[in-house]
Amino acid sequence: MSSSDKETTIVAFCCIYCAYAAADLAGSMRLQYPSNVRIIRTPCTGRLEVEYFLRAFENGADGVLVAGCEEGSCHFKEGNLIAKRRVNYARKLLAESGLEAERLKMVNVSAAGARLFTGHVREMAETVQRLGPSPLNRAKTRVQQEIKP
């Protein structure tokens, strides 16, 4: 984990039927992945609304991953396809608002895809590292740095 990982937060909305199980499996397999990811279990990615993604950024996320089932294997048939469209719309809104769209990303992972899941988290951590902390958090980070000895 790099020093900037410590200062940033990635929120991962994980569908209970796939990505959440994959994250669990990653733990059982003792796979390493960035520890600044905060996993939120969701009943289906189709349950997530556009404002959930925006609120995550408002509340301090530097990157947001939405991890649903592989296309065609959603437990509720098309929840992940709905999520994909909502994520695309939210990305557009973020870009209009002055945040990089890449900070929000939808990925598809099966319940067996532990390595795939950790790969996605790592990739998002790299994106966040490249972009730096969210501009919404930069002021805060500066203050934290100033008070550090």
């Binding site: 408002e58 973020l94 209009e96 608002s97 919404l136």
Partner: protein, 222 residues
């Protein structure tokens, strides 16, 4: 219903003054149904404005409220308290809603967060189409219920223009030729003979071309 579309966030940022308290005011009627200005959109736009404000240091303080109908005094009353607390109102109502709010709060700047587009219907999920341009003297009965004033790109009352290709309008190939639709519809309802009649020039003075319109019902006045 009235169909509207949100303005982009940069457009809103241009409009809204920095360091101000903003009420994003939604409307629970037409613009809720067309997914442009209901409670959900109020929540989304407010969130986007807060993000933009933090990212660019604009100093917005954003609050949210959605009332049942912005074009109706009875419901506007429910917004008085919230409006009084802020510097400006960003209305997500249609053009009529924005003006209804502005007329009742004389010293409060009220901005339109939507572009009001047309009178139309939900054609299929996520697709709205224009059906009526409020010409003021409806001729739908002559055309099997399909409006040539609105749906024919050339507004032809004695169509078709002859340019239609494969049922598509020559001006807007993404839309069906209204006259093709009128022909099929009249055929289906056994009224094709209507097409033999030449429709005289339309009274456009009943439309917006005759100036802003007003309807007065003496039986309802007090």
């Amino acid at each position: 219903m009235i169909v509207a579309e949100r303005k982009s966030i940069p457009e809103l940022l241009d409009m809204l003054p920095n360091d101000s308290k903003i009420l994003v005011l939604g409307c629970g009627t037409c613009v809720t149904v067309c997914l442009a200005g209901g409670e959900r959109e109020v929540s989304i736009i407010s969130s986007a404005l807060r993000i933009a404000s933090k990212a660019r240091g604009l100093g917005y303080e954003v609050s949210e409220l959605t009332i049942e109908r912005q074009c109706d005094n009875v419901f506007i009353e429910q917004a008085i308290e919230a409006i009084e607390k802020v510097d400006v109102v960003l209305s997500l109502g249609c053009g009529a809603g924005v003006q209804a709010i502005a007329e009742r709060f004389l010293k409060k700047p009220v901005y339109a967060g939507l572009n009001t587009k047309f009178l139309g219907i939900l054609e299929e999920r996520g697709v709205w189409t224009e059906k009526c341009s409020q010409c003021g003297s409806c001729v739908l009965h002559e055309y099997g219920g399909i409006c040539p004033v609105t749906r024919c790109a050339k507004h032809l009352l004695n169509g078709p223009c002859g340019g239609s290709r494969e049922d598509r309008c020559e001006v807007r190939p993404d839309r069906p030729c209204a006259w093709q639709l009128i022909y099929h519809r009249l055929k289906n309802i056994g009224q094709l003979e209507r097409l033999e009649k030449i429709e005289p020039p339309k009274q456009w003075s009943a439309s917006l071309s005759g100036g802003p319109r007003v309807i007065i019902r003496e039986d309802h006045r007090i």
